[in-house]
C-alpha cells in the first residue's frame, strides 16, 4: 500500500506548542524554517506572530474552515504581494486539521464538520473556487468565510480507517517562497477552465501545492469536478484515493527557479558519435520511454502565473509534442469534452503524463469505467513509413486500454511486413473477437487498482523492439515458409472464388524496411590533417584503418599470364638441364660401367642429346632451331647458361644450327640482355662452333646476324653481339688468308656482307658500340681488304684496332 510519505525525518524538529501537531505539517514547517520559506527573523518572534494569528483566526473566523483562511493565506503564498502573514501562519491551522491518521470525525473546525455528511460535490466545488487566491482575496475574509463553510471534508471522511490520506492536509499551504503547484487543468474540465478564464478576474492561480488534493507532483486530486465526483462517488478512483491515498509531495528541494530537481530525469544520454553533440533526437533502442513532459503545464503556468512551477524537468521531445495545450487534444477528445463534460474526467491532454505511475494507472482505470463504451480513443497515428525509435506521436492523452473497446481494428503501420493476407485474416479475427471480449475484460480491469502500470507507450516500446527484430530486407530469405504459406493460401482463395471478389486478389505492396547503413564517418575539420575519431558506445574505436585495394581483373590476368609463362620457361629449362646433366655425366658413368652395359649407356646418351636438341628445334625442320623456343629459353638467364653448356655436347651440325638460331635472334636477345650481359657465356662455345664452320655456313651466319635493316646496330650494342661479329669476321679472314681456295669469295655474299658490316660499323655512333670481349687480331687485315685507307683509319680508331695487332 502506498503510505503517504511519513515525515519522520522531520520529527527532529522541535514541535512548537500549538504549532505543529501533525506530522504532515512538519514538512511545511521544515521548509519554512530552512527552505525558501524561511525568514531570517528570530523564530521565536515568528512563533509569537503565528500564535497570534492563530488566535485571531480562530476567533475571527469562528466556524471558518481552515480552508478559508487557508485559501486566503494561499493567496499570500504567491509571490504577488499579499499582506497576509507568511505562510507559516497557516501552520497553526494544521492544529485544527486532523492528522491523516486521526479519525476524521475529530476534525475540529465545526465549519468543516457540518460538511461532514453533506454534499460532497458542492463542497468540493467550493474548495476549488476557494482555492483560487484571487477569488479569495477578492472575497476578503468574509468571502473566505463563506467559502469555508462550504468547505468539504475530505472525501475520505466517511472512511474513518483511512489513514494515508493527505486530504485533510489541504492546509499545508505553500510557504511564501514556494511556488504553488501548478494549476491543474486537472482540477477543472477544460470548459470550466475556460469559463474561469473568461471571467477575467482571477486567472486561475495555481493551486496551492499543499492543497489537500495535492498529489505527488503537487497537483490536485485526480478528479475534482463536482459533477464527476457525484458520479464517481463510489468509483474506483475514489476507492483508490481512499485506499491508496495521495502520496505526499516529497520535501521539495528548491532551486532558484523553483524546479523540483529531485524528480528530474537524468540528462538525455548522448549517443551520437560526435563530441559533445546534443542528445540524438532519435533515441537509441535501449532507452525506455521517459515520462513525457507536460508542455501544457508549463504553458499554463506561464500564462496564468508568473511564478515558477513545480513540475518535472522537461524532456525534449519537441518533435513529438506540440507545445501548445489545446493542440494536444485530439479532435475526438475535444468533441467529447464539449459534449459531455461531466462524463469526462477533467483531465485534458497534457496532464496525464505528469502524474505518477500509480495515479496514471488509476486514472486510466477510472476512465475505463466512466467512458461510454462507444467513444473511441483517438486512432493511433501511423508510425511513419519506416521505423523510428519511438512510435509516431501517440497522443499522451490516449485514453485507457484501447483493447477494451476497440470496435474497429487498428492497423499499425509498423507491422507492415506482415503478409497482406495475414493482416487481413488477423483484422477479421480481431473484429469478431473484439465485441465479445470487451465487456468482460473492461469490467475486470477497472476493478484492479494496479492495472495499467505499464503505460501504452511502454507497451508499444516493447512491441516495437520485438518487431524490429523481425525487420528484414528480404522476407523470402528470412521467413520463407511464412511467405510461401500465405501465397498458397491466396492462390487457393483465388481459385475458390473464381474471381468473384477481385479486390482480394490485388496485391498489397507492403513497404519493406531497408536496413540502414550506420557507418561511422569520422568528423573532419576543414584544413586539418587527418580525421578526428571519437569513440562512443555505438562506434567503437577503429584500431586499424584498412583500405581495400583491389586490382582490376585485367591487370590480374595479365600478371598471371606473365608469371605463368615464366614459370613454364623455367620448367622447360629445368627439364633440359636435367637432361644436360645426364649427358655431362656420361663420361664419368661410362668409365664406371662395365663393358657390357656400355652399349646401352651409349645409346642412352645419344637419345639424351637428341632429346636436348629436339627440345630446341623446330617442329618440322630438323635443321633449324625454333625461334620461339630459343627466344623463350634464352630470355631467361638460366636458359642462356643452359645453351652455353649445351652446345658443346651437340653434334656439330646441330650445334651450328643452334648458333644460327642465336645469331638470328640476337637482336631480340640483345635487347633483353642489356642489363646483365649473360649472353657472354655463349662466347666460348660459339667461338668453337664458328671455328668449325664451313665458309658457306659462315656466310650464312653473318647474314643471319645482319638480318634485316637495323638489326646489326642493335647487335652491336650488345657485347656479345660485337664479339660474335668479330668472331665471324675473324674467322672469315682466317679462312681467306689461310686457305687460298676458300669459297668465301665465290659468291659476293661475303664481300657484300662485310661491306655492309663495315658501313654499319662506321655509321654506328661510338657510344652505342659496345666493346667486345676480345678483339681478334686479324680484323684489321680483313678490313684493309675491303675498305680504303681513310675508312680503314676511321675503323681503326673506332674499333681501336691497333695496327700492331696485325
Amino acid at each position: 500500500m502506498f503510505r503517504f510519505q511519513s515525515l519522520d525525518e522531520d520529527c527532529t524538529l522541535e514541535k512548537e506548542e500549538g504549532l505543529v501537531e501533525e506530522e504532515d505539517e512538519i514538512d511545511q514547517f521544515n521548509d519554512d524554517t530552512f527552505g525558501d520559506g524561511a525568514i531570517d527573523d528570530d523564530w521565536q518572534e515568528e512563533h509569537k506572530r503565528l500564535a497570534e494569528l492563530e488566535e485571531r483566526k480562530n476567533d475571527g473566523l469562528g466556524g471558518l474552515g481552515l480552508g478559508g483562511l487557508g485559501m486566503g493565506g494561499m493567496g499570500g503564498g504567491d509571490s504577488s504581494t499579499v499582506q497576509l502573514p507568511p505562510p507559516a501562519s497557516r501552520v497553526p491551522h494544521p492544529s485544527s486539521l486532523p492528522p491523516p491518521h486521526h479519525s476524521l470525525s475529530s476534525m475540529p473546525p465545526p465549519g468543516l464538520e457540518e460538511g461532514g455528511g453533506g454534499d460532497l460535490a458542492e463542497s468540493l466545488a467550493m474548495l476549488i473556487l476557494g482555492a483560487d487566491p484571487a477569488i479569495a482575496s477578492v472575497g476578503g475574509p468574509a468571502g473566505s468565510g463563506d467559502r469555508s463553510t462550504g468547505l468539504p471534508p475530505p472525501p475520505s471522511m466517511p472512511q474513518q480507517h483511512h489513514h494515508p490520506s493527505q486530504l485533510p492536509s489541504h492546509h499545508q499551504l505553500t510557504p511564501s517562497g514556494l511556488p504553488p503547484g501548478p494549476l491543474h487543468p486537472s482540477l477543472l474540465s477544460y470548459q470550466q477552465h475556460q469559463h474561469l478564464l473568461r471571467r477575467g478576474g482571477a486567472p486561475m492561480q495555481q493551486m496551492n501545492s499543499h492543497n489537500i488534493w495535492e498529489n505527488n507532483m503537487g497537483f490536485g486530486p485526480v478528479s475534482v469536478t463536482p459533477g464527476l465526483i457525484t458520479q464517481m462517488e463510489d468509483s474506483p478512483l475514489m476507492s483508490i484515493i481512499k485506499e491508496v491515498g495521495l502520496p505526499n509531495r516529497p520535501p521539495p528541494v528548491m532551486s532558484e527557479d523553483g524546479r523540483d530537481f529531485s524528480e528530474r530525469a537524468p540528462p538525455p544520454r548522448s549517443s551520437s558519435p560526435v563530441i559533445g553533440s546534443p542528445p540524438v533526437r532519435a533515441v537509441p533502442i535501449g532507452t525506455p520511454p521517459k515520462q513525457p513532459m507536460s508542455h501544457a503545464m508549463n504553458h499554463q503556468q506561464q500564462i496564468h502565473h508568473p511564478t515558477t512551477v513545480h513540475v518535472r524537468a522537461p524532456v525534449h521531445h519537441q518533435h513529438r509534442y506540440p507545445p501548445s495545450f489545446p493542440e494536444r487534444i485530439s479532435p475526438n477528445t475535444l468533441l467529447n469534452m464539449a459534449n459531455s463534460p461531466l462524463c469526462r474526467p477533467p483531465f485534458p491532454a497534457g496532464v496525464g503524463p505528469v502524474l505518477s505511475q500509480i495515479q496514471r494507472a488509476q486514472m486510466l482505470n477510472s476512465q475505463v469505467a466512466g467512458f461510454p463504451r462507444g467513444c473511441q480513443g483517438p486512432p493511433l497515428l501511423p508510425g511513419g513509413g519506416g521505423f523510428r525509435p519511438f512510435f509516431g506521436q501517440p497522443p499522451p492523452h490516449r485514453m485507457g486500454p484501447h483493447h477494451n473497446h476497440v470496435p474497429c481494428p487498428i492497423i499499425r503501420h509498423n507491422t507492415t511486413h506482415l503478409h497482406p493476407q495475414h493482416r487481413r485474416m488477423l483484422t477479421q479475427r480481431m473484429q469478431s473477437r473484439g465485441g465479445e471480449r470487451g465487456g468482460r475484460v473492461g469490467d475486470w480491469r477497472s476493478r484492479d487498482p494496479y492495472s495499467n502500470l505499464m503505460t501504452q507507450r511502454e507497451k508499444e516500446w516493447v512491441a516495437k523492439i520485438q518487431m524490429m527484430q523481425l525487420q528484414s530486407t528480404d522476407p523470402y530469405l528470412d521467413d520463407y515458409y511464412y511467405q510461401n504459406y500465405f501465397e498458397k493460401m491466396e492462390k487457393r482463395q483465388e481459385r475458390d472464388r473464381d474471381g468473384v471478389r477481385k479486390e482480394h486478389t490485388t496485391k498489397l505492396i507492403t513497404p519493406q524496411v531497408a536496413k540502414l547503413e550506420h557507418t561511422y564517418r569520422p568528423v573532419q575539420f576543414a584544413g586539418s590533417l587527418g580525421k578526428l575519431t571519437v569513440s562512443s558506445v555505438n562506434n567503437p574505436r577503429k584500431m586499424i584503418d584498412t583500405v581495400v585495394t583491389s586490382r582490376t581483373d585485367d591487370e590480374e590476368k595479365r600478371e598471371k599470364q606473365v608469371w605463368n609463362k615464366r614459370r613454364q620457361i623455367l620448367y622447360t629449362v629445368e627439364k633440359m638441364y636435367s637432361l644436360l646433366l645426364e649427358v655431362q655425366d656420361f663420361e664419368k658413368r661410362f668409365m664406371q660401367t662395365p663393358e657390357e652395359q656400355r652399349e646401352t649407356l651409349l645409346e642412352q646418351h645419344k637419345t639424351h642429346t637428341l632429346q636436348l636438341y629436339a627440345s630446341l628445334k623446330e617442329k618440322e625442320w630438323d635443321d633449324r632451331v625454333s625461334d620461339e623456343q630459343c627466344l623463350l629459353i634464352m630470355s631467361v638467364r638460366k636458359g642462356k647458361r643452359l645453351i652455353s653448356r649445351l652446345i658443346p655436347f651437340l653434334p656439330p651440325l646441330q650445334a651450328a644450327t643452334v648458333v644460327m638460331g642465336i645469331a638470328r635472334n640476337l637482336h631480340a636477345l640483345a635487347k633483353k640482355d642489356k642489363q646483365d650481359q649473360a649472353l657472354c657465356w655463349l662466347v666460348e662455345p660459339v667461338a668453337v662452333v664458328i671455328s668449325s664452320l664451313s665458309s658457306a655456313a659462315l656466310t650464312d651466319l653473318l647474314q643471319e646476324l645482319q638480318g634485316s635493316e637495323g638489326q646489326l646496330s642493335k647487335v652491336l650494342q650488345n657485347k656479345f653481339g660485337v664479339t660474335l661479329l668479330y668472331l665471324i669476321l675473324s674467322e672469315g679472314e682466317r679462312m681467306q688468308s689461310s686457305d687460298l681456295n676458300c669459297q668465301l669469295m665465290d659468291d659476293n655474299r661475303w664481300t657484300e656482307l662485310v661491306f655492309s658490316v663495315t658501313r654499319e660499323l662506321l655509321n654506328v655512333p661510338p657510344s652505342s658500340l659496345s666493346p667486345p670481349l676480345f678483339t681478334p687480331p686479324n680484323l684489321l687485315s680483313l678490313f684493309s681488304r675491303y675498305v680504303d685507307r681513310q675508312r680503314l683509319e676511321l675503323l681503326q680508331e673506332k674499333l681501336q684496332i691497333s695496327a700492331l695487332s696485325r
Binding site: H403, T415, M430, Y450, N452, L453, M454, I465, Q466
Partner: protein
C-alpha cells in the same frame, strides 16, 4: 489487442494473473504488471506456491521481478475456473515442514543409493547444479 498481429507477445498478458515456473523449480503466482523485451517479468501480489504431494502452501512475497532467462514457463490463470479439489491448501508452516521432510527423505534415499553403489564399486558423479556449465 493487435500489438503485433501474428506474433506471440506478452503484452496481452499484462495485468492478468499468471503462474510462472522458474528454473530453480519455484512456482510463483501473481499479476503480471510489466514486461520487457527480454521477458523480464514484474509480478504483483506474488505468491510462492509450494507443492508437496497433495498439499500446497502459499507464501506471499509481494512484488517480484523475474529475470527473463530464468523462466521455464508462464501461463495465465483463469480466475473464473474452479480451483482443483484435489489439492489441499495448508498453512505456510505446515507446507514448509512438509517440504523439509520431503527433502530429507530424498537425501536419505540418495545417500543410500550412493553407498550401495560404492559398495559395489560404482560411483556415479553427482550432477548437481545442472544449470551451471
Amino acid at each position: 489487442m493487435n500489438y503485433m498481429p501474428g506474433t506471440a507477445s506478452l503484452i496481452d498478458d499484462i495485468d492478468k494473473k499468471h503462474l510462472v515456473l522458474l528454473r530453480d523449480g519455484r512456482t510463483l503466482i501473481g499479476f503480471l504488471r510489466s514486461i520487457d523485451q527480454f521477458a523480464n517479468l514484474v509480478f504483483h501480489q506474488t505468491v510462492e506456491r509450494i507443492h508437496v504431494g497433495k498439499k500446497f502452501g502459499d507464501i506471499p512475497r509481494g512484488i517480484f521481478i523475474v529475470r527473463g532467462e530464468n523462466v521455464v514457463l508462464l501461463g495465465e490463470i483463469d480466475v473464473d475456473k474452479l480451483c482443483d479439489n484435489v489439492l489441499q491448501q495448508v498453512s505456510i508452516e505446515e507446507i514448509l515442514e512438509e517440504q523439509r521432510l520431503q527433502q530429507q527423505a530424498k537425501q536419505k534415499t540418495e545417500k543410500a543409493k550412493v553407498t550401495a553403489l560404492k559398495d559395489r564399486g560404482l560411483s556415479i558423479p553427482k550432477a548437481d547444479n545442472l544449470d551451471e556449465y
